[in-house]
């Protein structure tokens, strides 16, 4: 499957879905006015990649988002949900959710995802202060 790269903008994160290396990264900020338009294609390509991912290949996914708006929130959760489904089906997935070490609310957000998506190996980690 072709790798997917989208350069960051002020309102959208950098997308580096290196399917060939089984390493996917979302990094930056996410507050597009139309979050669905941005995330629907990402979700679709993640979905088809996961469908063909063999249980032998471990996948790493990194979410490193400094800020995301309310409509992005739900769509980010839906990406995690896809990973959780695939993990439940026996695929080897490690996801990393990075948050500002000072920001309790963002840490709780990651912890909530851990609670909700129990099949997925999800690390909630403070990112290094800039």
């Amino acid at each position: 499957m072709q790798d997917l790269y989208i350069a960051p903008t002020a309102e959208t994160p950098e997308v580096a879905f290196l399917f060939s290396e089984h390493k996917l990264t979302l990094q930056g900020e996410s507050y597009p006015e139309n979050a669905m338009a941005f995330y629907a294609p990402l979700r679709a390509s993640l979905q088809s990649y996961l469908a063909q991912l063999s249980a032998q290949h471990p996948l790493e996914m990194h979410f490193s988002l400094k800020y995301f708006n309310s409509s992005s929130t739900k769509l980010l959760r839906s990406l995690i949900s896809l990973l959780n489904d695939a993990a439940r089906d026996g695929k080897q997935i490690i996801a990393h959710w990075y948050h500002d070490p000072e920001d309790d609310m963002m840490m709780e957000f990651g912890a909530d995802l851990q609670d909700e998506f129990g099949a997925l190996h999800l690390n909630v980690t403070p990112y290094e202060p800039a």
């Binding site: 006015e33 708006n69 929130t73 000072e102 309790d104």
Partner: protein, 182 residues
């Protein structure tokens, strides 16, 4: 407005700690320019990163509400007002926009309960709405995740305030004002 009223207006804004105020056409470009301005202003303060995130987040949610829900006027323009300031040790973000009279109750039903919730209740309502897979079917007027007001309330440090103002010029519209202190 004459110069005397304008200077009074400016003096009042300074007195109330206003960082910036905008009223008029809302567009993608206007929001982008305001975002840049607000970011620069916030970076020059000694605020913590989470506090800056909360102020910026409140600004984004309010601005996007205006873009999503305000009806264009006869010239096709969406009009809204937004202010950010610092007063009595807190930052505030306020917005104002026209709202169709028939939607007033809908907005009140969304905002009013948030005013009396504790922080934990807001967090758990936020969590429930985040996990609500039926939001699109339940609320066909919503253009997002149904998390906008909850996000504003979650990031605020005191109950959010709102006002509905009826003016006579356009009878089918009221004005909706919202204020969050961070």
């Amino acid at each position: 407005m004459n110069l005397t009223s304008f200077s009074d207006f400016c003096a009042q804004a300074v007195k109330e700690g206003m960082l910036f105020y905008y009223t008029g056409e809302y567009s993608k470009n206007v929001i982008a320019a305001m975002s840049d301005t607000l970011r620069h202003r916030l970076e020059s303060t000694s605020l913590s990163a989470p506090a800056r995130r909360k102020i910026f987040s409140t600004f984004v949610e309010m601005s996007q509400n205006i873009m999503h829900y305000v009806d264009p006027d006869q010239d096709g323009i969406k009009v809204g007002a937004l202010a950010v300031g610092h007063n009595q040790g807190k930052y505030y973000v306020m917005c104002g926009n026209p709202i169709r009279v028939e939607y007033v109750d809908r907005v009140k039903e969304k905002v009013e309960p948030l005013r009396s919730m504790t922080v934990d209740e807001i967090k758990s309502a936020y969590r429930a709405q985040l996990r609500n897979e039926d939001h699109e079917q339940q609320d066909t007027l919503s253009k997002g995740a149904g998390l906008g007001f909850l996000t504003v309330a979650r990031d605020a440090s005191e109950p959010i305030e709102y006002q509905i103002v009826y003016r006579s010029e356009r009878q089918e519209y009221a004005e909706f004002y919202l204020r969050a202190a961070i």
